[in-house]
């Protein structure tokens, strides 16, 4: 019998040392490709101005400074529309869109996953179809509809459509199917709980990992949304849009721009770090049947 390789105390089957080495090498190379631009972005934000315009440029700062961040802060306080307004817009849009998506999405997901009503199959099929095309296809007709509602240039133009985003609902439905046992729901119903109550009190607490996943999906879309084509007023524009303006602001603002990029990316990354294990748990149920 051939000798079994072990890793730690576990026996590993079918693993050659050469393969391990090769895989590690590929991982390191790919990791560098993914990670170095992030490092570069952070490095740029810590460079004093003279290092940003130095030839030959350095990859990392030699005399790191937080000056760019304080520049960004000054720039923010001096801008025409107060910067707190951009931040408020982003937080408001992100929070209300995400909350609406979570509530409406999970309620519909519960019904689609756990209640056997005629029509649920084709409803779900249409939702899966909607995952198959990118929403920008719709932007022109979307605009016509929004202007028919007189929603152009309001928060509603962004928030309400975001509430009906389908990826979160899809993940929620799949997760409910796999992790909420029918027997639990049945016994709740026998105890006299209404369907809404069963959903809210029994099912929802069981799918907390999926909440987080839905929240980060919705959050990432709304937070990273730049200039929406449906909003013209400067007062309603988002933080991300303002940041892009600073980044595009030319040489004088390079330092502040680099700092702004880091601020912008830090938030979703922190949210993801906190919720990672729950998200992976939800994704276990994400599979699509053929």
């Amino acid at each position: 019998m051939k000798k079994l390789r072990t890793r730690g105390h576990k026996v590993v089957l079918n693993r050659s040392a050469g393969g391990d080495a090769g895989i590690t090498l590929v991982l390191v190379l790919m990791g560098a490709f993914m990670f170095l631009p992030m490092v570069y972005a952070i490095g740029q934000s810590l460079k004093p101005l003279d290092e940003l315009f130095m030839f030959p440029p350095r990859f990392l700062p030699r005399r790191p400074t937080l000056a760019n961040y304080s520049d960004l802060f000054t720039l923010m306080t001096d801008s025409w529309v107060p910067f707190s307004r951009y931040i408020f817009n982003t937080v408001f849009i992100t929070a209300s869109g995400t909350a609406g998506n979570l509530f409406l999405g999970s309620m519909a997901a519960y019904a689609l996953a756990k209640l056997k009503f005629p029509g649920r199959k084709w409803m779900f099929q249409i939702i899966v179809m909607s995952l198959m095309f990118h929403s920008t296809v719709n932007q022109v007709t979307h605009f016509i509809l929004l202007s028919a509602f007189h929603w152009v240039d309001t928060y509603l133009s962004v928030i309400v459509p975001a509430m009906a985003s389908t990826l979160g609902l899809y993940l929620m439905k799949q997760f409910m199917e796999s992790s909420v046992p029918d027997t639990v729901l049945e016994s709740a119903r026998l105890d006299g709980a209404s369907e809404l109550r069963t959903f809210w009190v029994i099912a929802m607490p069981m799918v907390k990992p999926a909440w987080l996943t839905l929240i980060i999906e919705s959050f990432k879309n709304l937070w990273n949304m730049g200039a929406s084509i449906y909003i013209h007023s400067e007062q309603l524009k988002t933080f991300n849009y303002a940041i892009q303006q600073i980044v595009a602001g030319g040489i004088a603002r390079s330092g502040a721009g680099a700092a702004a990029v880091v601020v912008m990316m830090a938030v979703p990354i922190i949210v993801f770090v906190i919720s990672q294990s729950k998200i992976i748990e939800t994704m276990g149920a994400s599979g699509m049947k053929d």
């Binding site: 992030m38 095309f133 389908t166």
Partner: protein, 360 residues
Amino acid sequence: MSQGNESFGARLVFCLKGIGTKCKSGAISLIGKAKSLVKRKKTGDSQSGNNASSPVSRTEMTRRQWIWNEMKKNKVAYFMVAPFMLLFFIFTVLPVILSMVLSLTDFNMLQFPHFVGFDNFSRLLLNDEIFLIAAKNTLIFAAITGPVSYIMALLIAWFINELPPKLRAVVTLIFYAPSISGSVYMVWQTFFSSDYYGWANAFLIEFDFISEPILFFKDADWVMPLCIVVALWTSLGTAFLSFIAGLQTVDRSLYEAAAVDGIKNRWQELWFITLPTMRPQLMFGAVLSITQSFGFGAIVTALCGMPSVNYAAHTIMHHLDDYGGQRYEVGYASAIAVILFIIMITCNMVIKKALSKVGQ
């Protein structure tokens, strides 16, 4: 038929469960219901192919009545899906339908639309050279970013699967971070900046590969490859997480059994055990990757401006934005949208078919 029987069986079990717990009268009515269902099933079997909605003497209710009953019983379910489905219909389904209708008109937001048949489509395909460039670019872009990001996501997820959990979490973050951090891809513009302060140019000049800085994002030869690289950099998103999770759910004992059965190396293990087991995740990931690969327009616009130099990175998305968002030729833009829509759905269908053969 077998599927129908299965779901019927499940329903029966469910009814029987009810008998155990409910009071007697309830149980009797349930048994009655189960019997009527059996009857329905049998008649359905014996005359499958006939018009199911026509009244059949041997069943107490027609299919239509039965559905109506079920609908009434599940009122609350409709109430629960209604808010979401309503918004979904208005903001996703209706725009698609509206695009299809408007694509047959000359609507321009000002005058009342006239029906023009397939004029928009023939103009698009026969007389619009820029559209053809855009279509070519879109297909190249999608054909590279789609498969590459898909395979990259799968391989990386597979490679890191055997790392210890803490390390795996860190590595996951490193690979996933670019896709969630919004406009951080703008840093590529600094890196490939067109002056001497851009790191790439400085590096090439210092080692004498070039003497003049390359205007990376203004050079028709460079924009497409660079945009593809940046797109790939941001592409390890939800599909990647789905693969990581899918790999975690594969039953360890399958691998042991496979080793006994003569699987010799990890590649065979991947092909014969892992991939078939996680086929649902592969499907899901494919759908997301394809959709994503057609949606990188925003990155191109942010990096190269719009229109990009000589339309070198002009995609159908940009063409759509040009006619819809700037020239207000809505009818024409709708035709563009419909074509893009058809391309995306077709791609998805074809890939789904192909994926169902994995590991067979």
